[in-house]
């Protein structure tokens, strides 16, 4: 249920999204556009895995299809077609609908691992064929276009693109949220829980899954076309497996069991890559590490943990727990510092630049610069520091976690409702 408080929160977030961007620099505006696109992509993807329980490993296919469809329409507009530029994502939606319907019809004939493999094969089909098809995908170099002005709006600035993207993402996000309230949205959840029973209640499971897949592909394609509008170009690398992988990562880290979870994941990953990708080349490694840790310890993701705490907020002894949460946070921080320090040290020592330095130093191990200080590769401190951080942080975290989980166990009966999946809490 949408309570007044949630509605208020949403309104505040919306107001911020509308008011703040004009005061931001170009880089940040661009980043926000990427956040919005990634959020819609993840939300659309999560319709399959989070609500219907179908794991797609090839959603890049529909993202790419949307991008190319949008670019073809934009080129037609450049050529004189009187079509309003803000509605270009409709081309993506149409293409996504069509391709999603065909792909979905076949993919949903299988379930489980086999479904994942079919979706993977379909994406690889696009990825390997696109560079060969000059007419549709522009060969290896892809196709480009320009945003044409419409009704006095020039679409020359990033801010205009941002507002266009925001409008589309909000509309699609709202549609997806409304979807969960419809009879079909409830059927989607039922399918995830028990497909067999659904069939014996008079529903064709295959028809239902094709519809779900198509909706997901269509909205994914809208996200793809928004990206095409934003960067005005696309090539076959949009179909690559790392695009499919990225959305899987974001969705699960954010939490696939909560509606807004994927948005959390998409925002966090896009924001972090914007902030740190210039600082470190190990960013993808950290992403992988975060993903694996989430899979191992918090399978409901960030969103799941937050939701779990909100649902139990009245039963919990917060005063008693706050201290332990602070300790846990400090422990996690120390642990992170240790991992980052170690990774970056290794990255420097094994990097090309350092190899040059060593070459110049005739095989010796000269000191290196990291985090604004100079470190000696053979120095005790260089290796002791991360080890102390790791052990200290780890010990702190484990201790705090144990305390927290005893407090959780002591709390009153859970007021879990049906919208909340019963999964291990953050402290379990």
């Amino acid at each position: 249920m949408m309570t007044m408080r949630n509605l208020l929160l949403l309104a505040v977030a919306l107001a911020l999204l509308v008011i703040v961007p004009p005061f931001l620099g170009l880089g940040w505006q661009n980043m926000l556009v990427n956040v919005l696109i990634a959020s819609l992509f993840a939300l659309a993807f999560n319709l399959l895995i989070g609500q219907a329980g179908l794991l797609s490993f090839g959603h890049a296919a529909y993202f790419g299809v949307g991008a190319f469809a949008a670019l073809h329409l934009m080129r037609a507009i450049e050529g004189g077609l009187p079509f309003p530029t803000p509605l270009v994502p409709l081309a993506g939606a149409a293409a996504g609908l069509l391709i999603g319907l065909i792909a979905g019809y076949f993919a949903t004939m299988r379930s489980g691992v086999y479904f994942a493999l079919v979706t993977l094969a379909i994406a690889e089909l696009f990825h390997s064929l696109a560079p060969q098809l000059e007419g549709v995908f522009g060969g290896e170099s892809g196709i480009s276009s320009m945003r044409m002005p419409w009704n006095g709006i020039v679409f020359g600035s990033m801010l205009e693109v941002y507002y266009l993207t925001l409008a589309w993402v909000l509309v699609c996000g709202l549609a997806l949220w409304a979807y969960t309230r419809t009879p079909f949205g409830r059927l989607t959840l039922a399918l995830r829980d028990n497909e067999q029973r659904v069939r014996f209640l008079g529903y064709s499971a295959h028809t239902a899954k094709v519809i779900i897949f198509t909706v997901s592909a269509m909205l994914t394609a809208v996200a793809g076309s928004l990206q095409a509008i934003s960067i005005e170009t696309a090539n076959y690398s949009l179909f690559a497996s790392n695009v499919s992988a990225q959305v899987v990562l974001q969705t699960f880290v954010g939490g696939s069991t909560v509606f807004f979870g994927p948005v959390i994941g998409a925002t966090a990953f896009t924001l972090f890559s914007f902030l740190v990708s210039d600082l470190t080349r190990s960013w993808v490694f950290y992403q992988g590490l975060i993903f694996v840790l989430v899979m191992l310890y918090v399978p409901t993701g960030i969103g799941g943990v937050i939701q779990h705490h909100i649902h139990n907020r009245r039963q919990l002894d917060w005063r008693n727990m706050a201290g332990h949460y602070v300790l846990a946070f400090v422990g996690a921080l120390l642990l992170t510092a240790g991992v980052v320090f170690l990774t970056e040290t290794v990255a420097v020592l094994f990097g090309e630049d350092y190899a040059m330095v060593r070459h110049n130093a005739e095989g010796g191990l000269p000191p290196f610069e990291l985090f604004g200080a100079s470190w000696n590769p053979t120095g005790l401190l260089t290796w002791l520091l991360p080890i102390v951080l790791l052990i200290g942080g780890g010990a702190l975290l484990i201790r705090a976690r144990r305390r927290i989980s005893t407090i959780w166990d002591r709390k009153g009966p859970s007021n879990a409702t049906a919208t909340e999946p019963l999964l291990a809490g953050g402290a379990k």
Binding site: A178, Y179, R181, T182, P183, F184, G185, R186, L187, L189, A190, R192, D193, N194, Q196, R197, V198, R199, F200, L201, G202, Y203, S204, A205, T207, A208, I211, A416, T417, A418, P421, L422
Partner: protein, 256 residues
């Protein structure tokens, strides 16, 4: 409620066979279920009772033979079409939507009956008729107080009641219940019998049951399935007096 002479046949199995590879599990079963009767299928383990249910409800297609529901052939149709034709079933192993509320478990079936199976353009909360009917079924199976709880959190016997409730929701006139009282205590079984009796009032019931007490207190007729073959169909009293049945299945328990 005993069948009157003019009653029609609700469900007819005609020379049904089913083979898994070289093994014939169902060997030419003929069976007429009259409209409005309560009919039990009993038989030793491995006799093929569950397979028979799976054939009728569309989980498998029979190797040969015909199945008629109200005169229409349904053999080999997929489960959802058989359900729409007016036949619903429960499962031996509880088969519910564990992560949805009890109310929603029931509403899925009610929605199917109202033909809004794939409705995408209206919030379900506003469908008054659907929600009222769901609440009604909820009350009929005695789970009013549990409507908002997760189905997975119910006790075993509550889940069994929900299971029965779900078979009622699609409005089918022919109900198949697969061992509805299996694993229940004496007291729970008594309640379940009462529940089944009231909710199947006016409908046709075919059930698989091990507990002879349940069969006696509930059913109009009984069929005995042994090694894929129906060896007798009659009233419970006459079945328990039938020598062949005693030898094949009931053994000393019934003779005493």
């Amino acid at each position: 409620m005993t069948a009157t002479p003019t009653t029609q046949t609700a469900l007819r199995l005609a020379a049904i066979t089913m083979s898994f590879g070289p093994i014939e599990v169902i060997k030419g079963v003929n069976l007429d279920i009259r409209a409005g009767e309560r009919h039990a299928v009993i038989g030793p383990n491995g006799a093929g009772k569950s397979t028979l249910f799976n054939l009728i409800s569309g989980m498998f297609a029979p190797t040969s033979g015909e199945i008629f529901l109200n005169g229409n052939s349904i053999a080999g149709l997929s489960p959802h079409l058989i359900n729409r034709a007016g036949l619903a079933r429960s499962f031996q192993i509880t088969n519910i939507f564990h992560r949805m509320s009890v109310f929603e478990n029931l509403r899925i079936g009610v929605l199917a009956r109202h033909g809004v199976r794939y409705g995408l353009f209206r919030p379900v909360a506003g469908m008054r008729q659907v929600n009222e009917e769901t609440a009604e079924v909820l009350a009929r199976v005695g789970l009013e107080s549990r409507g908002h709880d997760l189905a997975g959190d119910l006790t075993y016997s509550e889940q069994r009641a929900l299971e029965i409730g779900m078979t009622l929701t699609t409005g089918a006139e022919v109900i198949l219940l697969d061992e509805p009282t299996a694993g229940m205590s004496r007291e729970e079984t008594e309640k379940a019998i009462e529940l089944i009796r009231t909710v199947t009032e006016g409908k046709t019931l075919l059930m698989v049951e091990h507990d002879m007490g349940v069969v006696f207190s509930l059913c109009d007729r009984v069929s005995v399935l042994v090694y894929g073959d129906i060896i007798a169909t009659d009233t419970p009293e006459r079945i328990s007096a039938n020598r062949a049945v005693q030898e094949a299945y009931l053994g000393e328990e019934a003779a005493s």
